[in-house]
């Protein structure tokens, strides 16, 4: 299966390990992965701040960059939701481009969604290097994909050595929201401290956060507050399990 990675601008700059984990895990599950280097940004910040024409120009570019991809997979739920929820409507007055957008949208998947819906992976043969307790933050824009947190939690629970504890107010926004976190930092700060406090309460070692923006926000607050857990993308956990399991087999 041929998969093209849409890494997203935040992951590219701030969390390249997440991108690499996505590449390696998809390859492990039998995909051939490529990375079209012309990609930039999905246009979400422009769209969300009231600049649809600029978002449209970036959407044209995205659609063009990925025109020959069978599947486009991204580790970030919100970028995927931007594409799925808004790309078609952006071209409401341009039937040709709209057709291209529809075709593109149908090929776009968020990472967990791709693992569970298309690849239908089973992780029960994999185990973590050490026992680890997890909790899971529901990243808001999964709503735009019609997704719940259930598939990610199910995958986690399949891993040998993984323990799961539910997060209180898991579906409450962490306070990222792009420019919101900067312009309304008082409110955003209160929101993210709530999230970190709930995370601390679980006693988990790791909070799974499958979105670049949320991860920056929660991670930054964890560091400032001295939280007892770390923030990871599920791809990083699966990659670690793959590496450990392969290593165990080799020895």
């Amino acid at each position: 299966m041929k998969v093209s990675l849409f890494v997203t601008c935040l992951t590219d700059l701030f969390a390249p390990d997440v991108g690499m984990a996505v590449v390696k895990t998809l390859e492990y599950f039998g995909c051939s992965v490529d990375f079209p280097t012309g990609q930039t940004c999905c246009g979400q910040p422009a769209f969300n701040n009231g600049y649809p024409a600029d978002a449209r120009a970036l959407a044209v570019k995205m659609i063009d960059v990925f025109h020959d991809a069978d599947y486009v997979v991204t580790p970030s739920g919100s970028c995927c939701a931007m594409i799925r929820d808004h790309y078609i409507e952006l071209f409401h007055d341009d039937p040709d481009q709209r057709k291209l957008a529809e075709d593109f949208v149908a090929r776009c998947y968020e990472y967990v969604e791709f693992l569970t819906k298309i690849l239908k992976v089973d992780l029960s043969t994999l185990s973590l290097p050490e026992n680890e307790t997890f909790t899971y933050h529901f990243t808001c824009h999964l709503r735009g994909l019609g997704a719940t947190g259930e598939p990610a939690i199910r995958l986690l629970k399949q891993l040998g050595g993984a323990q799961f504890t539910a997060l209180e107010k898991a579906e409450q926004c962490c306070g990222f929201g792009g420019t919101f976190a900067i312009k309304y930092s008082d409110i955003s700060g209160a929101m993210v401290r709530d999230k970190v406090a709930c995370g601390d309460k679980t006693g988990a070692q790791t909070m799974i956060v499958n979105d670049g923006g949320c991860a920056m926000n929660i991670g930054g607050a964890c560091h400032r507050m001295g939280a007892s857990f770390r923030v990871q993308h599920i791809a990083q956990i699966i990659a670690a399990a793959i590496e450990h399991t392969a290593g165990a087999k080799a020895s």
Partner: protein
Amino acid sequence: MNSVKESTSPKRGLSLPVFHPDFMAEAHVASADAALHAALDNSVTKKDYGRRSSLAELPDADGLRQLAGDIKRHTLDHLDYYLELLERNVIKHGGAVYFAATHEEANGLIVDIARRTGSKLVVKSKSMVSEETELNDALIAAGIEPLETDLGEFILQVDNDHPTHIVMPVIHKNAAEIGKIFARYFKTPFTDNPQELAEMARVYLRNRFNQADMGISGVNFAVAETGSIVLCTNEGNGRMCTSRPRVHVALMGMEKVIPALDDLPVFLKLLARSASGQALTQYTNIITGCRRPGEHDGPEELHLVIMDNGRSRILAGEYRDTLRCIRCGACLNACPIYRKVGGRTYGSVYPGPIGALLTPLFNGLENHKHLPHASSLCGACFEACPVKINIPEFLIKLKRDEVRQGITTRPERTVFKLWAWGLRHAWSYRLGQVFQRVVLRSIGSKDGWIKKLPGPAAGWTAQRDFPMPAKHDFRYLYKQYRADAKRGK
């Protein structure tokens, strides 16, 4: 009907009253108020969970929400027809119907009815639309005494305060604060026991119901086909207000009409569940006409005031769907921002996500420029809305309107233009990423985090650390990985 005229209030100049104009100052205080957050979690967050579990009991809650939204859309698309049908049927059952273009007209009509009927004391059932018109002030100015009889509204009236939640108006006060207010008002010893406080209000209000000449209610739903006014309440005061006094005046926003009695169960199933997680409110009144010849009770007169106050302007544009709102408050309960700033911060009658949408639509974007932005667009409100108003989508549209109307600042527009231009080409994107990496790495600490960002980005680091970009970006790592694979490493 004379309801297409725009609201031009000489008194306040805006369709909705503005209680607290400085959003940022209010938000600053509220977002640091841990006691407020705990209180809101204990009320709204709990109600949100109640909503979810009570909706989950229905066989197809999502389908029901879709149906409710569709009924509302149909009604709004044919609003003139259904309002005329409602008018005819209310009149048929002995009621009188008035159309008010503005909040002053609505208040004026009600004051006139009070004067004509010689009403001195008016008992009120909880009504958000009467908050919108500031009806109590108008009655007092005319020498008529309004008395709120919903417990929460009564507390607010006694304390000269405003509701901060659509359904739970006094959510911002705890039992001790209410105890102090009652001790002062009733001149009795202080108690913070909720039962005792409720009993004090109950005894007082019982007596006054008997003295009242006129009862004023809002309208949850007005059924066009039958001319019925539907009231959903939990305290029974609504039933007292609409049956004990000689005169009943019902005030409604013109979007509250539904076509037929068959549509009502759809909304009744959703309203209480969405508002409080109850299957139904304690009292559901369907009032069709006033006392008929030979009947022993009920008011002698029924007056229905249907108010526009800016709604037809919203109806005419692309924000029509916002008028579907049934004022259940579910979006407030679900909203992570409401949970951190409370209702007061939103500044006007309708707080929370729906308020962030309605207030600028009613009063003009230029008067509420923070409201569309003070949202993380998380979508919890849309998910909670029983009539499927896509609130985040509309907030984005309002921001687009701000840009078009030149309300946003020039520097902000320039930054977005530059940013968007830079992302149109891979080379300029790369250049931007390299620039960010170099700059951010130069101000970061050894532990890999930035404690203080410069300029407008300082808001971020005022609250939390900012990650330093990795030494190598993904593109570099990926290239290395492929090169290593080729070399058979």
